[in-house]
Each structure stands twice: as C-alpha cells, then as structure tokens.
C-alpha cells in the first residue's frame, strides 16, 4: 500500500495527533492536581459586577452566542457555556435575561441549557421561556432585531461571545448608546478591533476558550487549558526549528543552486541547475505533500450500471 495512500501529508497529521495527545494527557493529569493558577481575565471578573448592576437598575442582561451559520459548532457551545454561568448569576439575582439566537439549532440548545441552569438553582419559576429567542438567520435582520431589543429593553449588561462579523459594531455601539456594560469576544480576528473600540471588556483570541476553565475551575477544563499551553509551546518550538533549518538550507542566497527538483513523489534531475528557493527546502517538501497525480493504480473495474456520474476524486 505505502505511498499510494499518502495523499494527506503525514507530518500535518502527526502534529495534529501530537496536539490531541497533549490535551488528553493533561486532562487526565489535572484530576490529581489541585489549585492550578490561571491568570486573571478582566472581562470574566466583570460578569458578577455587570449582572449586579443590571439588577440594581432593574434592566435585563442580553446575551448573543455569535452568528454561526446553519448548525451549532464548538464556538457556539463555548459561548453558551459562558452564558450558562452568566444566567446562573442572573437567576440568583432574579434578574431578567435575554438570549438572542441567530440560528434555530443554537436556539434549541441554548434553551435547554439555560432552563437546566434555572432548574439546578431551584429557581425554575423565575425562568421565562421567551428569554431565549430565535431572532433571524439573516445577518443584518438579526443585527436590526437585536439592536431594537437593546434599545427597547434598555439592556444594562450585554455579552457578545462567539462568531461575529460585520454586525459586531452595530450591536456594540447600540449597547454603548444605552449605557450598557459590555463584555465581548469574537473568534473572528477581523471583529476584535471593533469590540475593543466599543466594549468595556474584550476577551482576545483563546481567552475565549479559557473562559470556562477560569469560571468553573473544573479539572477537565483546567487540564485542557494546560494541554493547550503545551501545544502552543510545541508550536513555538517547531517555528524555531523551522527558521533554523530553512536558514541553514537557504544560506548562500542566489549562489546556492540545486539540480534536483521534487516532482510526482521523487527527485528529477534538472538539465540546468536552478537557484535553491524556499520551495526546495526539506521542510517545505514535508509540509506541502505532492498529490502524485500521475501514479496509475490498477483497480478492478465496476460494471457500467454501477459507475457513479460524479467522477473520481
């Protein structure tokens, strides 16, 4: 079988599996370790303060778990996890909440989890079924709907977490105009600057994924966080190795030539040497696998009525 199957680039798979191993190993280890330090995340410290302020003002806390298309993904789940904590605090303060959902899948899951939170707190009578709402799955219709809710309900605290796009600033500036305390986080790099400009607290990058561990200190989550840090260190190490290895191979600049070219899974000898470029380095070859288009493989042929019309791969 061998190389005929190597279409995906084994080194990328190896790195991914190594990272999976590091995360799982630390999750197992964390059960035995107590009181691990997690640095302070200002936006999460502010949750109690924001909900408390909303209670004093008698105004709702509004949450948006991002604008994920069609189905729920890990980002939405993480946002809902954080909102479960916010809702728990709000339930204890008997403060109204509003969770605005962009798609129907998020709506159903958010409704389940938030109702569970109220149930666990023994405050199910305070749970309003309309507090978790599906607004629209059209981006700007959703933005208009949520902006309208913020203005009409005069939300005292707003939490925007998950995937946000061009509507981020519309939501954040509208909430700012009614004086709401805002905690936000976007997994989309493009929107983080807008949130930083308009919100009180912003979780940047993977702080969003650290939030559950920070809020609950659950061993699984804390272990996962340590695993993530190991992965980051490993990546930093790989970058350092990559820089050194490529610099070594590319040393000599334009005087450095090669007469070999990697082609279709093997080295071809060139008639005339060419400058040794970044694409000729060993690392580049490892990380950019050749799909070996010309390898012919003899396979048994299907009968005509069994041949799919969609072609091969």
């Amino acid at each position: 079988m061998g190389q005929n199957y190597l279409d995906n680039g084994w080194i990328s798979i190896l790195i991914t599996l190594a990272m999976v191993f590091m995360v799982l190993l630390n999750i197992m280890r964390a059960h035995n370790v107590k009181d691990l330090f997690i640095r302070r995340i200002a936006g999460l410290n502010a949750i109690d303060e924001a909900v408390g302020r909303a209670t004093e003002m008698g105004r709702p806390v509004l949450m948006v778990p991002g604008l994920t298309d069609t189905t729920v993904n890990a980002k939405t789940m993480q946002a809902i996890n954080i909102f479960a904590y916010v809702s728990r605090v709000a339930a204890r303060f008997a403060n109204p909440i509003l969770v605005c959902c962009y798609n129907a899948s998020t709506y159903t899951i958010a409704q389940e989890i938030i109702r569970d939170v109220y149930q666990q707190e023994g405050l199910i009578d305070r749970y309003d079924v309309d507090s978790v709402r599906f607004i629209s799955d059209r981006q700007f219709a959703f933005a208009a709907g949520v902006a309208g809710l913020i203005l009409r309900e005069k939300a005292a605290a707003t939490f925007f977490m998950g995937e946000f796009y061009a509507e981020s600033l519309i939501l954040a500036e509208t909430a700012n105009s009614v004086g709401a305390i805002q905690v936000a986080s976007s997994t989309e790099m493009t929107q983080t600057p807008f949130f930083i400009a308009a919100c009180d607290y912003v979780l940047i990058g993977d702080e969003f994924y650290a939030a559950s561990a920070f809020l609950t200190r659950h061993p699984v989550l804390v272990g996962s966080l340590i695993g993530q840090d190991w992965c980051k260190l490993a990546i930093a190490g790989l970058i350092a190795i990559g820089v050194a290895a490529n610099s070594f191979q590319l040393a000599g600049g334009s005087h450095n030539t090669t007469s070999k070219a990697w082609n279709e899974g093997k080295f071809d000898t060139l008639p005339k040497p060419k400058p040794f470029g970044a694409g000729d380095t060993t690392l580049s070859r490892w990380l950019n696998p050749d799909p070996a288009k010309d390898i012919k493989i003899e396979r048994p042929q299907l009968p005509p009525d069994q041949i799919p019309s969609g072609g091969g791969n």
């Binding site: 995906n8 479960a84 599906f134 799955d137 600033l169 969003f208 559950s212 390898i295 019309s309």
Partner: protein, 301 residues
Amino acid sequence: MIDIAAQLVPKTMWNAPNNSTELWTRIVLALLVGIALFVGLLNAPIQLRKPIIFTVTFVSGLFYVLFWLYPAPINRQPSDGPRNTFEALSFWISDSQGVIADLTNIIASFLIGLGIYSLMRVHIGKIKKQQRDWEFSVVLVSSMVLMVIFGYVDFYMRLQPGNSKMAGSGYVGWTFWQFGKDLLFNGLLQNMDAGMFSIVAFYILSAAYRAFRARSIEATILLLTALVVMLSLMGLVEFYWAQGVDAMHLSNNFKLDNIARWLRGNFQTPAIRGIDFGVGIGLLAMGLRLWLNLDKTGSDA
C-alpha cells in the same frame, strides 16, 4: 414538473435509481425508522439520555475524524472499484461525505421550524395582547408570510417549461408574482441589508473618536500605527509623501507605503498568526472535549 425525490445516476449504498421501487421502499423505511427513533428518544428514561447523546456525538464525530485522517484513495477513477478491504473503507468514506453533509442540512431544516415557532409565539402573543410596540410584530409576521408566498410562487413559475424567458434580463414574461418577489427581495430586503451594513461606517467613526485616545504608552503606539496605516491607504497623501524620494536612497524606507508594509509584515501579520494559533488550538481542545463527552457544559459545571 418537479421530479420529487429524484436521485442521481448512482451507485453508492446511499442512493437508488429514479422513481424505482427500491428508492420508494428506502424512503418509506427511512421515514418509519425516523419515527421509531423519535418516539424511542421521547420515551427514553432520563438516565439513558446522556449515553445516547454521547454515542450519537461520538459516531458523528468519528466519521469526520476518519474522513480527515484515513488515507484517501489516490487517483480514483469513476469506474474504479476498491482493491481490498482497506481501500473499500476509504472509498466508502469518500462516497459518504456528501450524504453526511446533507444529513446535517436536513436536521438544520427541521430546526428552522422550531425557530419559526419561537418567533411566532413571541410576536403573535405580542399582537394578541397589544403589548408595547406590537405594530413592529405585525410588520415582521406579514413580511415573513409575504416573502414565503411570493418566493415560492415565483420559484414554481420559473421552473415551468414555457417560462424560460423569465430568468433573463428585461422583465420578459414577468407577471404580478415576479414583480412582487422582485420588489420584496431586490427592492426591499437587499437594500435594507445594505442600509444596515452602511451604518457600520458611522459607528466606526463614533467608536474610533471615543476610543482612540493616547491614554497610555500602549494606546499611543496603537494610535500612531493606526494613523500611519490609514494615511497609507490615502493615495493623495502617499503620492505627495513619496515626491522626490530616490528609490536607491535611504529615505526610500520612509515612504508611507514602505512603512505601512513594514508594520503589516513585521507586527500585524505575526500577531494575527500568534492569535490564530491560540484560537485554533482552543477550538481543537473544545472539539475534543465535546466529541469525547469530557466537556462539562455550563449547566453541569
């Protein structure tokens, strides 16, 4: 006529010939199994629900893990059959990916019904009780109903053999339904979308004016780099800044576009890469916890 349940010229284990008895049998069987599953899940004891959810999540995730990690067949031709069991699995994974993706879409389509139910409950309730701002709810409900009616009638009419000219430009063959849909979709929805988006420009100005203040050293550095990048996007400023600069002179490095390029290449791009690594690894860890049921959701934790 629309060919209901039309299937492709086959053949994988997932489909059957058009209008064949096999196809209809499969549809009916799938429906029955679906109903049985639905009823079964509704009546499942509470202590069984978590294992069921775990199993479904694990199996669904396992497919995509295999899809990405299991060796894909190389140079597979349409007429090729698998050589051995190892390859048969890779063929099956490759053939099934589209079907699994469709399953996700089907589940999402059912959930839209739930979403509409939520929307209607809130807004029809508001209209009935004539609560504050109930007029907006009337607009919402009537817009939704009108868009659905006009959209479907127009879609159906365009599929009819005699109406092929409708798709072209110039309103040829258009009736009340096409003009109605055009007004609702192109005339209203698209422009309101664009209108909402254009608000961002105004909000960028007010947010930047309020937030971009040199209150600390870090904020001052941010402010100055932002100014350089914004100036570099202004052709007029860039043009006059570069006047008289010799390309071979040291001053060439201080041309606006070169400073902006240096900032982008040496600060912005590496910073974004660093954050992207963090986000990617966070997503991987979160995905693993969900897949293996290790995650404690907010309600459990």
